[in-house]
């Protein structure tokens, strides 16, 4: 029903990741209105309390803002979105380094390899 969730992370956290992902990708634009809590809950197949928590945390992270009587909107503050992108980049790199080290590669070896192959995704 709705979205498939990973087993080892709270569902509200996965929904926050999903929405911040949409903002970073640009599927959700600065200033764009989010679905209402209930609409999003129905679409995601989660209960409305979970969705309420997601919206509250996004607002606390200053990624969205609630306008009274109108709903939630993505921030128009580009600096905040840039910060979000940087945080996401850092997270990705961190988990990459972790798996690289787990397998016994060195980071410089991996950087060299990345430079050689470029960013082609095939």
């Amino acid at each position: 029903m709705g979205i498939d969730f990973l087993p080892d992370k709270p569902i509200y956290q996965q929904l926050i990741d999903r929405i911040t992902g949409d903002i970073i990708r640009g599927t959700l634009k600065p200033g764009e209105k989010l679905l209402s809590v209930r609409e999003y809950a129905i679409e995601a197949g989660v209960n409305a309390n979970t969705m309420q928590r997601v919206y509250k945390e996004l607002e606390q992270m200053e990624i969205t803002e609630t306008r009274r009587g109108q709903g939630s909107f993505v921030t128009e503050d580009e600096a905040k979105i840039a910060r979000l992108r940087d945080e996401m980049k850092e997270q990705l790199v961190l988990s990459f380094i972790q798996s690289v080290e787990e397998l016994g590669f060195t980071t410089s070896e991996m950087i060299q390899h990345l430079q050689k192959r470029g960013g082609k995704n095939d």
Binding site: M1, G2, I3, F5, P10, I42, V46, N47, N49, Q52
Partner: protein, 236 residues
Amino acid sequence: MIELKNVSKKYGGRKALEDITLTLPQGKMIGLVGENGSGKTTLLKLMAGLLTPNSGTALFGGKRITRTIATNIAYMPDADLFYPYFTVRQLFAFYESQFADFNPIKAKEIATFLNVSLDSKIKQLSKGNRGRVKIAVTLGREADYYLLDEPFSGLDPMVRDDIAKGLIRFTDSGRQTVIMSTHELKEVEPLLDEIVVLKGNRMIAYEAVDEIRDVYGKDATSWMVSLFREGSSNGE
């Protein structure tokens, strides 16, 4: 608020529930899980006032739950409950005559949302559509608590999805509580705030879903399986 204090229930000499103490707050979606015969239906019926405990007390808003106080509590049984010769419209009219809190406008809105025609005869509906109608008449009541016995069981994925969406759409998560027994925990977990686990007619756990994932790093289904394993390795 529904409160159970040391509630036990027997059918003849057979124990159905033993010493259940549990407070179910307003505004939550709660899953009730456990093996067949663990007491899920009995627990729901005690809360609905359809059964009385042999010992202990079952309270709603501080008052003992009886068949008449249970007007704030809507119970949906596992079985088909309909008069087969009724149309959906007639069934709604019947419910309106039986339950003061039945809101025919809401029930029709739910039926429309679930694509069930009001003029269909119940006996001509598919099993899936009968499941949809059952949800419509149950949520059509403006109750504080909805007690649903296996709302998803035996229905195909599309119907299950519709019923899940109907539950999210037509209950007020700030005020109303839904308690549903289920064997489809994996599928239902995203709908739930909390889970009550029964085993051998006792309650062995009552946890928030977010907590389970946060603290144990696993989903509700694996958590439940590990609970059952622990129980049996302790020589139960």
